[in-house]
Each structure stands twice: as C-alpha cells, then as structure tokens.
Homo-oligomer: 323 residues x 2
Amino acid sequence: MQNLEELQTLVDQKIEGFCRKNGEANILQPVNYILSLGGKRVRPLLTLLAADLFSDNIEDAVYPAIAVEIFHNFTLMHDDIMDNAPLRRGKATVHEKWNRDVAILSGDAMLIQAYQLIIKTKESAVIDVMRIFNQTALDVCEGQQLDMDFQSRLDVTIDEYIEMIRLKTSVLLGGAMEIGATIAGASTADREAICRFAIDLGLSFQLWDDYLDAFGDASKTGKQVGGDILADKKTFLMIRAMEKADASDRDIMLQLQKEPIVPSEKIDIIKGLYQRLGVDEELKLEAERYYHQALAHLDSVAVPLERKNKIARVAQALHVRQF
Amino acid sequence: MQNLEELQTLVDQKIEGFCRKNGEANILQPVNYILSLGGKRVRPLLTLLAADLFSDNIEDAVYPAIAVEIFHNFTLMHDDIMDNAPLRRGKATVHEKWNRDVAILSGDAMLIQAYQLIIKTKESAVIDVMRIFNQTALDVCEGQQLDMDFQSRLDVTIDEYIEMIRLKTSVLLGGAMEIGATIAGASTADREAICRFAIDLGLSFQLWDDYLDAFGDASKTGKQVGGDILADKKTFLMIRAMEKADASDRDIMLQLQKEPIVPSEKIDIIKGLYQRLGVDEELKLEAERYYHQALAHLDSVAVPLERKNKIARVAQALHVRQF
C-alpha cells in the first residue's frame, strides 16, 4: 500500500508522460493545453484508491485511472463550447484560444485517447472495465443534456435536479472507483458499494458547491460569490426557493431574472430570500445526508478497516473544504 | 459463406435493431435520425466481407461491423458542424434540425456507442480490435484537421492531399476490413494485405469522386456538377492545376476565387483549364494506379481464389460506378 501523496505523484507523473508522448501533433496541442490547466485530479486518485482498497498491486489500474482524467477533461472541452465559456481555471478555454472546430475535433481525439488508455490493464479485466466506462460516459452525456434542457425550463423539480447532477458529475466518480475495484478483483457487492460511496460523496460535494457559490467565502473558494445567482442558474437553492416561495416572492425572483439591476443588489436580495425561505439550511441537511450515506457504503465494504483510512481521509478533505 | 445480398441485409437489420434499442431517449434521437438518412453501408459490409474471407463463421464480426458504421456517422455529425453544412443526403443536418450543442453531444454519445458495439465480439479478439479501432479513429480525426487546415493554404502539394484523403476516408475502410480479418483469425500478413487493399481502393474511389464532381454526369451521380469548383475546394484537380499552371493561368484561377461571376461560367472556365493542363487525365491514371494496386494486395492474400470473389465484385462495383 502506498500513501496518498505517493498516489497523487504517480497520477501527476503519468499525465505528464501522456502529454510528452502527444508531442507537437497539431490535433493534440489543445489536449495538452487543457491538461496543463491543472485541477485536483480527484478522479484518477479515486480509481487508484479503489484498487488499493482491494489489492496491494495497483499497477494495472494506473492507465485506466489516467483514462478517467482524460475523459473528464474531454467533457470539459466540449461543455465549454456548449456553455460559451470564455475561461477555464482563469485561462482561455480551447474554443477561445483556438476556435470552435478545433475544440470539437481535439475533444473527439481526446475521447478516443481515453479509450487507448482504458484498455492498458490486465487482459482479463478489459471487457468489464470497458462496460463500466462506456455506461458511465453515456450517463455523463445525458447529464449534460439534462443540464442544458433545464436552462429553458421553469418547472424543474428537486428530484430532477438531483438526477441531473448524479449523471453529470457523480457517476464519473462512481465509475472511477468501480473501475479500480474491478481491476483489483473486488466482489460484485464490494464493487457496487464503492461505486455508491463515490456517487453519494459526489452528490454531497455538488450540493455544497451550490451552497458555497451563494454563501461561501470568496477568499477560501477562489470563486466570485453569487455567480450562479447572476447567471440565473437552476441550482438546488433556486429550484427549492421557487417551490417554497409564495406568489409575491416568486414574482420578485422572476422579475430579477428579467430586469438587469446592480449585480451585488441582485445577489443580496436572492440570498436574503434563500435564507428567509430556509432553503440554505435544507441544502445543508441534504448534503450531510448524502455524505453520511456515502460513509455507510464505505463501511459496508468487506475489507479491514485500516485499508479504508486513505479513502476516508479523502472523503473528509472533500467534505471539510466547505467550512 | 453467405452471399453479398445476405450480408447487406444482415447489416441493415442490425442497424435497425440498434436504433430500436435507442428508443426515444432525447440524446439518442439525433443518432437514430442520422442513421435513418441511409447511405450505402459500405464500411460494415467490408468488415463482414473481410471476416468471411478467412472464416465460415462471421458472427463475431457483426457488432464490430455495426460499430464501424456508427463511428462513420459520428464523424459525419461532427464534420457537418465544422463544415457549416445545411444538408446531408438531401435532409437537414443534425445541427440544423436541432442545434449545434445537440450535434456535439449526440455525436459524443454516438462515439461512445460505437465502443459499446466494438467490444461485442469474442473475448480473445477485443484488445486487438480495440487497438485497430482506436488508431483508425485518431487517424480520421487527423485527416479532418488536415482538410480544414488546407482550406486556408495555397501551397498544398499533391502528396499532402493524398495523405489527407488517406487519413480522412481511406484508413476507415482499411480499419473496417482489418477488424473483420482479425476477428476471423487471419495471419498478420493477411491482415495487413487486406487493410492495404481497402486503403488503396478508398484512394482510388476518392480520386474518382474528385473527377466526377467536375466531369461527371449529374443524372448518374445525383450531385450538382462543379460543386467543388464553386466552393474553391482543394481537390486533386485544383492542386495539380495550380502546380502546372503558368503565371497567367494561375492569375485566372486566383481571380475566379476572389470575384463572384456566374457560377456556370466559373465551372466552364475551370473545367476548360483542367482539360487544357491535362490534370483530368492525370487524375484518371492515378486513380487507376491505386485501383490496380488494391487488386494486387487482394491477390496476395493467402486464401483460395473463390473466397475472394465477393470482395472483387464489391471493388468492381465501386470502381465502375464512375463511368
């Protein structure tokens, strides 16, 4: 068993090696560029942690772990086109730095490259790993579709919203861990438990993300507070507030979406409304519920407690970042 | 061994079954739509023909064959965005019928679906088939990139052009056949020979396509004559004419690209130039050279002559369509 820092270093090294191998090929420059923008590399770490949970040899999980990160960055490249996003981690997005067509085509190449990496594991695991990866990838596309559909709808329910973030962000965490567990030879029950752990952790994380966007401390999150509010994004807070609001509150909210006012005023009014309606507290309860559900799934995995330490630490680190 | 018509029917049935299974899912509607536009389904047929060349049992090649067709249609969906094409086979393209984002996302889903199908073969072949498929897919992306790059360049050489069409269209024919041969257990030498056969056949086909666009009979090709000329497309004819032209002819060509004149006049002037410079005859010689090279590769495959009949018939059918 390797420690967390060693696993993280391994991920970084393998991604660097991947980029080096891509070299100067035209179509792969945007691939190297988006990977150079950084990120926490949580997903490949989860794959390695899941493998490490069930086996002392994680070697066969290394390239599939990188495949998951490449896939994740592929979705970012294409999502940024669809969202017309000018910036990604403070730098120009690929379609801004190059153009739309380059972002489409290099994204496609990146998805294919993920498949080149996913099969670099032991032969007996390839088909299982491919099945998990394919289903996860399709789910992520469906999640993005739902997210876009929601922007033009006023009647999105909380259940629909949870299903959307489950597909768009959580299933990839689940898939990342299930792939690691599968390569390490875990039982079907354990593979399912670790997948559910990651999905619930992801839901908790995403809900907290909604909270922090409105109520976080900009000096800690590094993001501008109120971005979702200014973009009229349908978050847990917004959807639940629309559900709970009376006619006059709902009018205020719809009015603010139509008429431009001073941004800071809009943020203050909406945040006040969220607090008055208590949807901020509701969100916290819901996020905590998913977090504890995640830990229960981790508990149920049939390996000695000490093997779970690293994963529990990562879960906690993702959890406490909020406060 | 099944006859050609039976193989074609099998392909059609499996594609219909695939669409039925996609059902009404939002993100898969454009997938079913683009497949409903038809096409000759040459690529999956080539996969089955290659399997049939080496084995009496082609069952394990059926889903990979469909995967190749799904992949091909994925490239059409994304290429149509990049080319701003309003029509595909006389019907609205996906980005026209829905919108750009749908065409990006459903295309992504379609590529993933190709991978779901490609692994539906015998386990011992999966990794080899995946390797061929991945490399082929990356080559096709690179070909599309080159094609786009060429539009803004005036110094494209014939060698560069041949390399572009090789990547953009021929390697997929080669990959389709190599996958079928691999599943059927062909030797490395035979896999390579059948792959080269398909690549050279593809080059011949593509060159004839350039010829027919300028000199074909609209009533037979079903396409408007001179489309490439009006779009100032860098075809074999155009590139070779620019190379052979003297200063005054080159001026005429560049002038016609800048100043709008009556379309039919532009077509007549350029066609006259092609004929005067003899690039039409050069193209024919080159296309025939690739065709005979293809047949030589087929000859070299180490199976009894009678097994090659069907493939030779398909090659000839693709060849004689020109006249």
